[in-house]
């Protein structure tokens, strides 16, 4: 009987330990305390990008063409921001990088409004994917 009691006590301790693990497993993804895990952030091989843009006869940007994207980025999202004075955004858009070889090119045609090319001093790029 004494042996049985000790064994039952041991079982109760084991259950408590695994119950803690089970509680950790139910943490919400949005919880601020989610810090552990194995999320890896890296580039798909981009070292730099170069864009050109097309204009209409009034000098407004109609599309932005980005070249030299590594094939490993195929299927990921390219976001382009047109930047003006003070690096402020004057337009932009995004597109999914298609399959391609040996390198990819992507075109962003929906730029969120009319933007005069004269007001564009540069581009900001972001390539994101999983």
């Amino acid at each position: 009987m004494k042996t049985l009691s000790k064994t039952l006590g041991f079982v109760v301790v084991l259950a408590a330990v695994f119950a803690s693990c089970a509680a950790a497993a139910t943490l919400a993804i949005g919880s601020a305390s989610l810090a552990a895990g194995s999320v890896t952030v890296s580039s798909c091989g981009v070292s730099s990008l170069v864009a050109t843009r097309n204009v209409d006869n009034s000098g407004n940007v109609t599309q932005v063409n980005v070249t030299g994207i590594p094939t490993a980025c195929s299927g990921e999202t390219l976001s382009v921001t047109l930047t003006g004075a003070g690096n402020a955004s004057v337009g932009g858009g995004s597109t999914t990088i298609g399959s391609c070889a040996p390198t990819c090119a992507a075109t962003v045609t929906s730029l969120g409004g009319t933007t005069s090319a004269a007001n564009v001093n540069g581009y900001s790029f972001a390539v994101t994917g999983q």
Binding site: F18, V39, L49, V50, N121, G122
Partner: protein
């Protein structure tokens, strides 16, 4: 004891499942960000050394008017006149990664048609020279019309004609610029001839003004 063994096994199984769930990897993400800065500039091309211009006349199909001080445009009728103008952009030193923010063809109108006319600007896609004739002009290649513009009927007016899309394409393709044909596709009428000053004149010569990025 047998029941106890079964109970211990069950607890391990349940607890083990929970522990496995807690260590599932969230995933692997790619992220890259960068910028590109553009350089802005302007370039004005004009003058007889950088400009080739002439007009052709259907009523004198074999004649050339490359040395004239005027450029003339007249609609279909007994006499059709087309003006041709092109510029050498090499002095602007633009790389093919650049592009035109704006490009404006400036022509000095004198005398003006009366009433004013609407003229059509069409890119020329094959080479031509100052000795171009009407007959030769029929064999040139042309693109789709770039734009149209109204002359008005005021003598001595500088007209600014937007040609941004053509110049932007020229810079990117690094191809030779064959310029534009200017024609009048409207109905013939009295006083329908438009006359511009050519690069052979002493003043008010044709200009191409480019604002670019590179």
């Amino acid at each position: 004891m047998r029941r106890l063994a079964i109970l211990v096994t069950a607890v391990f199984a349940i607890g083990g499942t929970a522990a496995y769930g807690a260590t599932v990897a969230i995933g692997s993400w790619h992220l890259w960000a960068g910028t590109q800065t553009l350089t802005k500039g302007t370039c004005t091309v004009s003058g007889s050394s950088a400009t080739t211009d002439t007009y052709v006349d259907s009523s004198h199909a074999s004649n050339n008017f490359g040395n004239a001080t005027t450029l003339q445009v007249k609609p279909d009728g007994n006499q059709t006149l087309w003006t041709f103008v092109r510029f050498d952009l090499s002095s602007c030193s633009l790389p093919t990664t650049g592009g035109a923010d704006s490009a404006t063809l400036k022509l000095f109108l004198n005398p003006a048609p009366n009433p004013g006319r609407t003229l059509t600007v069409t890119p020329v896609l094959s080479t031509w020279s100052q000795t171009l004739t009407w007959t030769q002009a029929q064999r040139l290649s042309y693109g789709a019309a770039t734009t149209t513009f109204a002359t008005g009927n005021t003598n001595g007016t500088t007209l600014s004609i937007p040609v941004t899309v053509d110049v932007d394409a020229l810079i990117k393709s690094s191809t030779a610029s064959y310029g534009w044909r200017i024609s009048d596709t409207g109905a013939a009428a009295g006083g329908d001839k438009a006359t511009f000053t050519s690069a052979n004149a002493s003043s008010n010569v044709p200009q191409l003004v480019i604002s670019y990025e590179k």
